[in-house]
C-alpha cells in the first residue's frame, strides 16, 4: 500500500441539524492543456484506480484500431462504450443490437450480471421472475466495445484476461495518455483489469481528451470522437436521475463527465482545455458527485442555482415523511 504523501482534504460535508454529522475527505486535480496541474487538493501523486472513470481510455484502441469503423459504430455506440449505464431499455436494446450485428450473443460477454439501476427495468424483471443478464451490467457497452475490438483482432474469447491482446492494447493507451507507467492492476466489478495510475495521471489524461482535435492524429481523433460522443449522449453515458447525465445536461458548455466506482469522478472541459480527476478517499458517491459539481461551479461551467447542481452539490436531506433534516454541502476549500 502506497500511502498518500499529502493527506486527503475535506471535500463534502453531510449536515444534520446544527452539526456536520459526516465528513468526506479526498484528492482532486485540475490539469491544463500540457498536463500541468492548474490546481490541486490533497495529493496529486496518490495511487488510484480510476475504475469506470477511465472507460474513454479503454475505448481508445477500439477507435484507433479501425475496429469501430469496420463495425459501423456511431456516436451512440461510442457513448455506450464509455458508459456506466442504468440498464434501462435505451441502453440494453442498443447494446443487444450492437453485438447481434457482430454475430455474437449474450454468453459471449464476460462482465457478469447485476440488477439494472433503472427502476422500471428492475421492476419488470422482478415482476417476470427473471434474473438480469449481462446486457443489464452497467459496463455492457464497454464490453461490447471489447468484443468488437476482439473480433477485429481475431483473438481468443476471454478478452478480460490481463495478458489478452484487448487488455494489453488498453494498457498501452492508458499508460501513454496518463503518461505514467502503471505499477499494477485490480479486478474491476465487471471482471476486466483496472490499471493503477496517479490522480495526476488521470488529470493529464482528461486534459488530453479536452484538447484532442479530430484530424490531428489517430489518437487525438479517437479521443475527440469518444469525448464528443459522450457529450452528445448524456442519457447513454449513465441514465435518468444520475449525476453524469444530469450535470452534463446542466453545464453551460459541452462537458463530458464520468463517474467511477469508489467515488472517482472526472470532467473533460474542451472549452477551457481542462481536465479534472477526483477521488473521495472513502469511496462514497454522494461525496464525489457533490465535489465534481462544486469544481464545475468553481470553473464557471455550471450554474450553482441550476436544479441539477442543487440536487448534487447542495442536496437537501429529508426524513421519510419529507421533513427537511439537513444538507450535503461541498467543503469550503473546493469553492473558495
Amino acid at each position: 500500500m502506497t500511502l498518500a504523501a499529502l493527506p486527503p482534504v475535506p471535500m463534502t460535508e453531510i449536515w444534520r441539524g446544527p452539526i456536520a454529522e459526516s465528513l468526506h475527505l479526498g484528492h482532486a486535480v485540475i490539469c491544463g492543456p500540457g498536463g500541468e496541474i492548474v490546481q490541486a487538493w490533497g495529493d496529486p501523486d496518490v495511487q488510484v484506480y480510476p475504475r469506470s472513470s477511465c472507460k474513454m481510455l479503454q475505448a481508445l484502441p477500439l477507435v484507433e484500431s479501425g475496429a469501430a469503423d469496420a463495425a459501423g459504430l456511431g456516436p451512440e455506440h461510442l457513448a455506450l462504450a464509455c458508459a456506466s449505464h442504468n440498464g434501462a431499455a435505451i441502453h440494453t436494446a442498443r447494446v443487444a443490437k450492437w453485438v447481434e450485428g457482430l454475430g455474437l450473443r449474450e454468453p459471449d460477454f464476460r462482465c457478469g450480471s447485476h440488477m439494472p439501476k433503472d427502476e422500471e427495468a428492475a421492476h419488470a424483471l422482478i415482476r417476470a421472475y427473471e434474473a438480469p443478464c449481462q446486457l443489464h451490467n452497467n459496463c455492457s457497452g464497454k464490453h461490447a466495445g471489447f468484443l468488437t475490438l476482439n473480433q477485429h483482432l481475431g483473438a481468443e474469447p476471454d478478452y478480460i484476461e490481463v495478458d489478452h491482446p484487448v487488455q494489453q492494447a488498453c494498457l498501452r493507451a492508458f499508460e501513454e495518455v496518463t503518461q505514467h507507467s502503471s505499477p499494477g492492476y485490480g479486478i474491476d466489478g465487471c471482471s476486466a483489469p483496472n490499471f493503477l495510475t496517479t490522480l495526476h495521471g488521470m488529470g493529464r489524461a482528461m486534459a488530453f481528451f479536452a484538447n484532442a482535435r479530430e484530424g490531428a492524429d489517430a489518437r487525438q481523433t479517437a479521443a475527440a470522437r469518444l469525448r464528443d460522443a459522450m457529450i452528445a449522449h448524456p442519457d447513454l453515458v449513465a441514465g435518468e436521475g444520475r449525476a453524469c447525465t444530469e450535470l452534463m445536461r446542466a453545464c453551460n458548455q459541452p462537458v463530458a463527465l464520468k463517474t467511477g466506482a469508489e467515488a472517482f469522478f472526472i470532467a473533460i472541459i474542451p472549452g477551457l482545455g481542462l481536465g479534472i480527476a477526483l477521488k473521495v478517499a472513502d469511496g462514497a458517491d454522494r461525496a464525489s458527485e457533490c465535489a465534481i459539481a462544486a469544481l464545475l461551479v468553481r470553473l464557471g461551467v455550471l450554474d450553482p442555482e441550476h436544479p441539477a447542481t442543487r440536487k448534487f452539490m447542495n442536496k437537501t436531506i429529508r426524513s421519510w415523511r419529507g421533513i427537511e433534516a439537513g444538507m450535503i454541502k461541498p467543503a469550503a476549500g473546493l469553492l473558495a
Copy 2:
C-alpha cells in the same frame, strides 16, 4: 460545527489488488462499568448523533413508565422497539398486531414509509404494484413504542415533535444515561428528534446497559429488560443477512448489537461489563460493520474464523462474475 479535537483514525480498509483503494476513518470508545474509558480511538469527545444506535435509550420511558406492562408487551415487542428491522413479514406482522392491540392504525404512525430491505417483502410489493406503508419503515417498532407510551400519557397525536411529552421523556432518559447535557438535536430519517451527545456519552450509556440488573431500580430494570430482549431476538433487531443479527448470533456470549445510520454502531457486553460506541466519520456502513466486528474479536467475544465474522470483518470483494477482487479489512490499530 464542533470539530473533533483529535482526528479520526484508520478503521476500515477497502483493498483491491495491490493497494487499499479506499479508507474509512473513525472514532471509537470502549467503556467500563463506571462509564470510564477503557480504550479509545480518535476523539471520545466528538459530537455525534447516535441515530438508531440509541433506540434502547429511546425505549427506556416506555418501560419505566409502566406503559409497556400496561399494554402487555413482551420481549419480542421490546426487541422491536429497539430495532432497525428489515420490514420482513416477521417484523411487520408483529408491529401491526401490536398497534392493533392499542386500537390504533397505520396512519397513526409518524415515521413515513420506505421500501423494506427484506428482498422477499420488497419483491412482493413490486409484484402487487403496491407502495410500502409505515409498518415497513425500519423504525416502525420504535414508533409502536412511542405510540404505546403516548397512549399511556394521554398526549397529542404528533408524538415526534421535540417538545412533545414522549420526546421530552426520551431526552431526559438520554441525558441521564449518557451523563451528558444534549446541546441540540437533528431530525432522524423516521422524523423523530435524534439528540446530540458525545461518543463517550454513548459509550457510558452502553456500559450502563451492560451492567444494569433487573430489580436494582426502575431504570436498571428497564435497561436490563430491553438489553435482554435484544439479545433474545437477534432476528427482530435487524433481520436475516444483517450485521446486528448475524454477529449477535455469532458471539460466544450474550451481546446486544445495534447499528445506526451514518455508520454508528454500539455493543453491549454484559459478561464483560463493557459498552462500545463507534462512529465512522464518513458514514459508511461497510466500515462500521467491519470495525465493530474487529472490536468484538479484540475483546474475545467473537471468533475471527466464524463465517459471520469473516463476512463483515474480512469480507471478500468479488466481481459480478464471482472473481475475487479484494477485501474489506479492519485497520491494524483496531486489532493490535
